[in-house]
């Protein structure tokens, strides 16, 4: 026997979770980035054996503010990020996806083809088509907004 009326009589209604879920949806785009920064800060604190309180002192901000940052709940300004980077001696954000940046490619070479990866983008070049790589590690210019196709240019492979 089940008495649902009794259950409903003792149960209080709490739909506040829906508001929290909606807020998380609304904040999703910046919060994802704040959470990545939080993880980097927590890892650095552990590695450097620094407490959150010590970091707060170093940055001259309140421990509550640090707590908010490490929980991934703080919509950080560039100034705050720069302050955190300086205090921890680490890089938290990068503007690396530009043409001027040099990134290492990872290369898988078989007898038939060579596969190259840049930030998970793949290019496969078949040797029977006449292109043979001699080196398994080299540099290439890349731009994530460009096509991932590799082109041969001045003896370097660009994508």
């Amino acid at each position: 026997m089940i008495n649902i009326d009794k259950l409903n009589k003792i149960a209080e209604s709490d739909h506040t979770w829906q508001k929290r879920a909606e807020k998380r949806k609304e904040n999703r785009s910046w919060q994802k980035k704040a959470q990545i920064i939080a993880v980097k800060v927590l890892s650095a604190l552990k590695k450097q054996k620094i407490t959150q309180r010590q970091l707060a002192q170093k940055m001259e901000i309140s421990p509550q503010q640090i707590n908010k940052i490490v929980k991934g709940n703080e919509n950080l300004t560039l100034q705050s990020i720069a302050k955190l980077e300086e205090a921890l001696g680490i890089q938290l954000i990068s503007f690396g996806n530009t043409l001027s940046d040099q990134k290492k490619l990872s290369v898988i070479e078989t007898s038939d083809y060579t596969e190259m990866y840049v930030n998970f983008k793949k290019a496969k070049v078949y040797k029977k088509e006449g292109i043979v790589f001699e080196s398994v590690s080299f540099q290439a210019n890349y731009n994530l907004t460009n096509s991932p196709d590799f082109v041969l240019k001045n003896n370097a492979y660009e994508c």
């Binding site: 026997m1 259950l7 149960a11 209604s13 709490d14 739909h15 829906q18 929290r20 993880v39």
Partner: protein, 200 residues
């Protein structure tokens, strides 16, 4: 250890959650007036809590059961899964048509041996998966008419529940709720005939 303070209704007439009167987890730093459902979704999207949790269970994480070995990766996976799971439940809550059917699709029986039973027997201990192969779990008792009462949840990094204290506690919470429902006259002992024991 787990004193039930009250039961709160999460989705009208269908989903309820228990609120306990004590802190549940060593990694928790705050204790608000919040039921298990709200508490877990807050924790699962809290980088500081997750950093503590995965460092405490580093061995389990690195055991390779899920193929994730870094704490950083585990945190971001958890947040993403929790977010998607919560949004899925939010859409169930807002789309009031087929709520019962949707919840039955989300909640699955706890014991592997009960997975083929449909509809799920009364009082069956159930768990909801965040997503396929997710390590997030919500635990609930299912009453009839597709009514679920969430007792707790956890991040399950091991194959079975009875090997880790934090998951063993979740099993205790299921039994505590069962007794609470009997004490309150919501279910009777006869009704417990259909109670399915765990097969771990």
């Amino acid at each position: 250890m787990f004193a039930i303070e009250k039961i709160e209704e999460i989705i009208q007439g269908k989903l309820y959650a228990v609120k306990y009167s004590a802190l549940q987890d060593d990694c928790e730093t705050e204790f608000g007036d919040i039921n298990e459902f709200g508490r877990l979704f807050n924790l699962w999207q809290d980088t500081s809590y997750l950093f503590c949790f995965f460092n405490r269970h580093l061995e389990d994480l690195k055991s390779g059961f899920f193929g994730v070995t870094s704490v950083e990766e585990a945190i971001l996976i958890t947040i993403n899964e929790a977010y998607n799971f919560e949004q899925e439940l939010l859409s169930v809550a807002k789309n009031k048509i087929n709520t019962a059917q949707s919840l039955q699709e989300i909640f699955r029986p706890l014991s592997d041996s009960d997975k083929d039973k449909y509809p799920i027997p009364l009082y069956l201990k159930s768990k909801a998966y965040g997503s396929r192969k997710s390590w997030l779990r919500l635990y609930a008792l299912r009453l009839n008419d597709n009514i679920y009462i969430i007792t707790g949840g956890g991040i399950k990094l091991t194959r079975t529940m009875n090997t880790r204290i934090h998951l063993k506690n979740e099993l205790k919470k299921l039994d505590i709720l069962k007794q609470f429902l009997i004490d309150q006259g919501i279910v009777d002992y006869d009704g417990m005939i259909d109670f399915i024991e765990l097969n771990l």
